[in-house]
């Protein structure tokens, strides 16, 4: 992640940016700084404003208030064709009337570069995404994964200061998504560019991003590394959105504790932990690598507990069985709001 660091100033500074569509405030006074060389994810459910924020960065929307500074330059009113930014569209937006090489070379031709240089750079970009053999194909003759790589090459060939990715994996099937995820991270590390990615998939954001911003109702609710956001969520919303969390009221009834299912031990006998409670299993979900249990405790709550299925034969708990739950004093995380 340290690669490509030229200076300490963030490459993107979003200052109090607001965007309204009629009565709806899509982006609500967002402040965000993205560092050089990061793979930054904007994470949230649909309608949270993440895509609008990305489109504001690209210049397709202009903010109603606030400022956008990219690499030290105010870009607030600059049209998209003059921004040092390129975007990979969710639909890929490949030009159907051009072949792969023409698509990739489009941005270079707009710069008016000499032909031989365009040819070399297009070949280089196609090499990077392993599509050298497909230069003469039309987008309609490619598979979904190949189209995605053309879109990526077309954006990267311009050597942008910032690469925006709008749901880069959403249009791929599950198997392909896994591989492409590693591919994107590899390219990010090789090129040392700053990537900003929009996704609704928390697993995708957690596994790829160096830092992420969780968005809700047009606001950024938390910014941090995946580890920080998972282990120390600030709000009930974040705790609930990222992974699974049991949310328990604290003694005073005004504050809350987030307790991850894997931090709770499931035992047949009373455990030797700071907290212990008896209960009965009401549901079992076997997921192969782990099992999820819903346990109704004697003090009247339902907690989710997960166990890793480490051994192939292991004592398993069945529905209806009486069990004990235990967790350490520092297993839970107290929420700010």
């Amino acid at each position: 992640m340290q690669r490509g660091l030229i200076s300490n100033t963030p490459i993107v500074r979003i200052e109090g940016v607001t965007k309204r569509f009629g009565a709806i405030t899509a982006v609500d006074t967002v402040d965000l700084a993205i560092e050089r060389g990061e793979l930054f994810a904007l994470l949230g459910s649909s309608g949270c404003g993440k895509t609008t924020l990305l489109r504001l960065l690209a210049g397709f929307e202009t903010p109603d208030a606030g400022r956008l500074v990219i690499d030290g330059q105010d870009m607030t009113g600059v049209p998209p064709h003059r921004r040092p930014i390129n975007m990979m569209f969710q639909s890929y937006a490949l030009f159907p009337h051009m072949n792969v090489a023409e698509n990739v070379g489009y941005g270079l031709r707009r710069e008016g570069l000499p032909k031989p240089e365009i040819v070399t750079r297009v070949a280089e970009a196609l090499e990077q995404v392993r599509l050298s053999d497909y230069a003469a194909r039309r987008p309609a003759q490619l598979s979904g994964g190949q189209r995605q790589r053309v879109a990526l090459a077309r954006a990267l060939v311009k050597r942008p200061k910032l690469l925006l990715l709008d749901e880069p994996l959403a249009a791929l099937d599950r198997k392909l998504r896994e591989g492409t995820r590693f591919e994107l991270v590899r390219l990010h590390e090789e090129l040392g560019l700053t990537f900003v990615m929009v996704t609704h998939d928390q697993e995708e954001a957690m596994s790829m991003a160096s830092r992420l911003a969780v968005m809700d109702l047009g606001r950024v609710t938390q910014v941090g590394t995946p580890h920080e956001v998972y282990e120390r969520p600030r709000s009930r919303f974040v705790a609930d959105f990222i992974g699974i969390a049991n949310i328990l009221p604290l003694e005073d009834g005004r504050r809350w504790l987030a307790l991850r299912p894997e931090k709770i031990a499931l035992c047949a006998a009373p455990p030797d932990t700071a907290h212990a409670v008896a209960g009965r299993i009401v549901d079992v979900v076997y997921e192969g690598d782990r099992s999820l249990y819903r346990v109704a405790t004697d003090d009247g709550r339902v907690l989710l507990v997960s166990t890793a299925n480490v051994a192939r034969t292991k004592e398993t708990f069945r529905r209806g069985q009486s069990v004990w739950l235990g967790w350490a004093a520092d297993a839970g995380h107290e929420l700010d709001e």
Binding site: A58, G59, F60, P79, P80, H81, R82, I85, N86, M87, F89, S91, A93, L94, F95, P96, H97, Y106, G107, R110, E111, R138, A140, R154, A155, K158
Partner: protein, 278 residues
């Protein structure tokens, strides 16, 4: 099922092939003014030969093609911005705008051309306005000139240009234009490299839908044009009704059809190509 498939064939045989054979038969005959119908059947090609040797017909042909081509170009230049604006308008306003394009069809074509006569005549509304406001003391008369014919054709066929253009522009994915801008294309460059090539099927369709009927147009040159405005449709009418020369009129009709087969084949090839691409 078989009946349903046969239906279009029966339709084409009864309403196209049979009349065509009839017209071809008449065209190969000779003029017989005293009999009814005034045709003596035969297998003579002299009517066709006359069409290619007589200066009148050649001139009428060339002038038809020229008038149709200019009208098509003007209709394209007017229709493209119109179609573009409708395609980019808010979705809830598009039906209204399209309605306005189609609205003239609710009035008879003939009446609309008569209305243009009223507008363009020597003492017509346009000239009265020019004189009344003092903009021109002695405006010329447009009615009876080739200008009036061009104007009439553009007016009458503009919807046929706008509708296919609209169809292809409306289909255009706006994210392609965003991608072009994102890759550094200024708005006009994005138009030339993305919008224009992707709307080419619409341009070809629109141009042919205007050009093909405009070549054979009869009503507009007859009512708005003067004696010096030669168009093949009008020549056909004159041969048939004024000179009562059925065979010659039929030969003109056949030639018109054959010459328009070229553009129609072009049209279909373009349509097939754009289908292949998707």
């Amino acid at each position: 099922m078989r009946f349903v498939i046969a239906l279009p064939f029966v339709w084409l045989i009864v309403f196209f092939l049979l009349p065509f054979a009839l017209v071809l038969g008449i065209a190969l005959g000779t003029n017989a003014p005293d009999s009814a119908p005034p045709v003596e059947l035969g297998l003579s090609l002299k009517n066709f030969a006359l069409l290619f040797t007589d200066d009148l017909y050649v001139a009428a042909w060339l002038s038809s093609l020229r008038i149709a081509a200019t009208s098509t170009l003007v209709a394209l230049l007017l229709g493209y911005p119109m179609a573009y604006a409708i395609a980019r308008a808010a979705p809830r306003r598009r039906p209204l705008l399209l309605m306005l394009v189609i609205l003239p069809f609710w009035t008879s074509f003939l009446i609309r051309v008569y209305a243009w006569m009223g507008l363009l005549a020597e003492n017509g509304i346009l000239n009265q306005f020019l004189r009344g406001t003092g903009l021109a003391a002695d405006p010329g008369t447009i009615l009876g000139s080739e200008w009036a014919v061009q104007l009439g054709i553009v007016y009458a066929y503009l919807p046929f240009m706008v509708l296919p253009l609209y169809a292809s522009l409306e289909k255009l994915d706006t994210s392609l234009l965003e991608a072009a801008a994102d890759l550094g294309a200024q708005p006009f460059a994005a138009f030339l490299t993305v919008t224009l090539p992707l709307s080419l099927p619409g341009i070809v369709a629109g141009c042919l839908l205007v050009f093909i009927p405009a070549v054979g147009e009869f009503v507009i040159p007859d009512l708005l044009g003067g004696t010096d405005t030669l168009m093949i449709g009008k020549v056909l009418w004159d041969e048939f009704f004024t000179n009562s020369d059925w065979p010659l009129a039929s030969a003109v009709a056949i030639c018109l059809l054959v010459l328009l087969v070229g553009p129609i084949v072009l049209f279909q090839r373009q349509q097939a190509k754009s289908l292949e691409r998707r």
